[in-house]
Symmetry: C2
Subunit: 487 residues, 2 copies
């Protein structure tokens, strides 16, 4: 990670940031000053910042940084028209735009690029409509995932996609990354809940895609193309989502195993019983250790791995009975008492986000493999950690075969252990290679962003990538929308 923070002109010249406080213009080229004046002209003072502290905060999301840039300015849109104004100004001056929700992404999809504007949508946070009979809601992109759920709950409804960041992340950000979450195995990912989008295109025009109905097949599925496109094809300013029924009954089961691979096998055993849990989370010993440290529990004493399963709906109790039976048969110690403790564990898992932020001594991934390969992949990960002499911690949305392995080590002095970081990244690369070899993907739910571009070529051959570049070019001929991300 570079400590340098430079503001670069779009014409190529780079100048050190001399912006100090407020919205002073300093250290910019004449073209940039002209652009910034035009940009500011259509906005209120509260909507634009150029002080170094703000630029720094908004220059990255929670993903690892490869090369750090400060944006020219941060703009907070408060309306669709604001977004259109920003896009038109940027288009006229060839200035890149990095749109951003809460900045909770972990792949660098919202990292500032050279000479860009960061366009924050967090203030466009109104729930415009919530129709309990249609079972739909229309929201602005800055609505927090948990807030939509809070609004839907009194109607017996929920917005299903629940990334671990659901208390902080925005629906717009979830749409940009096609976010997954804990209960995806049963309820689907973000794309499966999005019916329609309002999108500001690269020329500043407003386009509506999709339909307000559950089903609709008129023309190409532009909505699905935009979901997960990480702000590179257009800027989502309105989202119509389908809501699902809030389950009346939820049963939670905690199953402790003495061995991680047996726990992974438990996932397959539940599948073979043809029970579809809402949540099926797999935690290894390293994760239990971390949870004990953070919350003072004794999880490690009870097992070396934990499988957390939640069933929900009218059949929750009967499903939970089957789950307990097959897990016990597979050697697990299964909670049979009221599931209060297990529920608490799910909450801990849900909120473990934040301690997962990568730094240079911790590298994380988001590989998904076909479910039948879960046990093999977990075994391979353990072997890699041993071979590269690094530590391993794994949590997995196991129902989806989506693993978040983290290779890590205690902070070392590069002088005494020069190749520590090399070993760490070698383990990471190896995990990617093996995951792909098993028929997996390099990203189950976090997105490519900026960070994972290095591996995308391993998953997608050149013609597939070229086709995507041409789609990008069609939507954004100038290449101003979040350049250098996603594809």
């Amino acid at each position: 990670m570079s400590d340098e923070t430079a503001i670069a002109g779009t014409s190529g010249e780079s100048v050190r940031s001399r912006t100090v406080g407020g919205t002073e213009t300093a250290g910019h080229t004449a073209a940039q000053r002209e652009f910034l004046a035009e940009l500011a002209n259509g906005l209120e003072d509260r909507q634009l910042a150029r002080d170094e502290e703000t630029l720094t905060v908004y220059s990255i999301d929670q993903g690892p940084t490869v090369e750090r840039h400060l944006p020219l300015a941060v703009v907070w849109a408060e309306s669709v028209e604001d977004v259109q104004h920003v896009v038109r100004s940027c288009a006229a001056h060839h200035v890149p735009i990095v749109a951003r929700g809460a900045g909770t992404g972990v792949s660098g999809g919202a990292h500032a690029t050279e000479g860009c504007i960061v366009l924050s949508l967090e203030r466009m946070n109104r729930i415009l409509d919530l129709n309990p009979d249609d079972e739909t809601a229309v929201v602005e992109p800055g609505v927090i995932n948990a807030e939509l759920n809070a609004a839907a709950a009194p109607h017996g409804l929920m917005y299903a996609p629940d990334p671990a960041s659901y208390k902080m992340s925005t629906i717009g950000g979830n749409v940009a990354t096609n976010a997954g979450g804990l209960r995806c195995a049963k309820y689907g990912v973000t794309r499966d809940s999005v019916l329609a989008l309002d999108v500001v295109m690269a020329d500043g025009s407003l386009m509506h895609t999709g339909h307000q109905t559950f089903k609709g097949v008129a023309g190409y599925d532009l909505t699905a193309l935009l979901v997960g496109s990480e702000g590179t094809l257009g800027i989502v300013v309105g989202i119509t989502v389908r809501l699902k029924y809030l389950p009346r009954e939820v049963h939670t089961i905690a199953a402790f195993y003495q061995d991680f691979r047996n726990a992974a096998a438990g996932v397959l055993a539940v599948g073979r019983a043809r029970v579809q849990p809402a949540i099926m989370e797999l935690l290894d010993n390293g994760t239990l250790e971390q949870l004990d440290e953070l919350h003072g529990g004794d999880l490690q004493k009870r097992g070396k791995s934990l499988l957390l399963i939640q069933t929900d709906g009218f059949g929750a109790a009967a499903e939970a009975d089957v789950v307990r039976e097959v897990l016990a048969a597979g050697g697990a110690t299964v909670t049979t008492e009221a599931s209060a403790e297990a529920e608490m564990l799910v909450e801990l898992r849900r909120n473990s986000r934040g301690v997962e932020v990568d730094d240079e001594f911790r590298v994380g991934e988001d590989i998904a493999v076909p479910r039948s390969r879960l046990v093999d992949f977990v075994a391979e990960l353990e072997a890699m950690a041993a071979r590269f002499q690094v530590r391993l911690k794994v949590v997995a949305h196991a129902g989806d075969g989506n693993l978040h392995p983290t290779f890590w080590m205690d902070r070392v002095d590069p002088a005494t252990d020069a190749d520590a970081l090399v070993r760490l990244n070698a383990a990471l690369d190896e995990s990617i290679r093996v995951g792909l070899e098993m028929g997996g993907t390099i990203t189950g739910e976090h997105g490519i962003g900026q960070y994972k571009l290095r591996w995308l070529g391993l998953e997608q051959p050149e013609p597939v990538r070229e086709l995507q570049r041409r789609i990008k070019e069609l939507f954004d001929p100038q290449g101003i929308l979040n350049p250098g991300k996603a594809i």
Copy 2:
């Protein structure tokens, strides 16, 4: 419907078909003869037909025809390489290709266009893989929907999307139209079950999109873009689908109403109880009459409208109890006995496909509206039928707000009732207008094909359509893939 069957040269000249029997070349231009020779050169004799009977059979699907053309030839691909050969031959000679599964589409998506080759994929009908632990299958496009389900059932799995044509239609055709079906409200449409595609592109190259895992967000969602594109962007030659769990328990409820609008209100009542049925079919009096005629029942005596509901899974019995309770409270006569009769009715409904084929005295639609507008829309349809003096019959996948209204009349002599057909089509147009006004879509699941292009401009403004045309151009610069369809 025109009785004319013409074979047209790609250079514009049109000749009457003089092709008689076998694979004789007659009545073609020199360029066409050269193309046909090249095409035949890479195929076995059994794979190509040019006799008039075959050309006629393969010139249309089950959709209404606007302008009928015979193809130059029908080709049956038996491998990916065959498809590549056909596409390359057609690309070299600028010959349009209409790919086709079982031809059960009802929007004319597989109607032959002028001077085209019809490429049948029905012989590519192998299930290449079915992995019970991965809960996925890989199939060739010609696999019949019901056959995949038959193969999956012994493993406790099912392929969820179940269009009424499921005993005849192919998975490839289902993918081309993003087919819906009866149990979509709970299990999603085709797109929600498709994980990956193998696609022959317009230049004959083979591309792989998507992922073998349940989740995957690497790059743009090309898979979703291709699903529902009706063979206009590429020819799907392989499909990886996610399978769902075959429910162990199914409960079926038949609820008779004396009034269609009350039955529609029952759909909302079930929704308000936050019960998610697998199937929720609404049948009006006209449909009951038809079923009685076909099967000799007494449905009409029992009510003027029927709501058929199926709950499934571990909670099926408890869900069925709630459904019965809310429907009875809404004035329905609800079956309380063992649901054998209700199940039989669902089977009748499932297999009512075939009698629904439109002709000039029967025009059908596929409108979907937001669920809250179901009752209003049904009331409007009844008013339209009265106003235009035509008869009405409606079945609806009511859980999705997706209606199949049919306006019809007994065969009339145009000499005595000159404006009969005008009234019929006026009612149809009016139903489209009102459906759109209510926030609906012109097609919930059948696709635009050729027939619904006339209304697409009412739903999608020009910039959205232009964007789709440009995507089409990007995938298919020559415009040889199913031209004049879908967008």
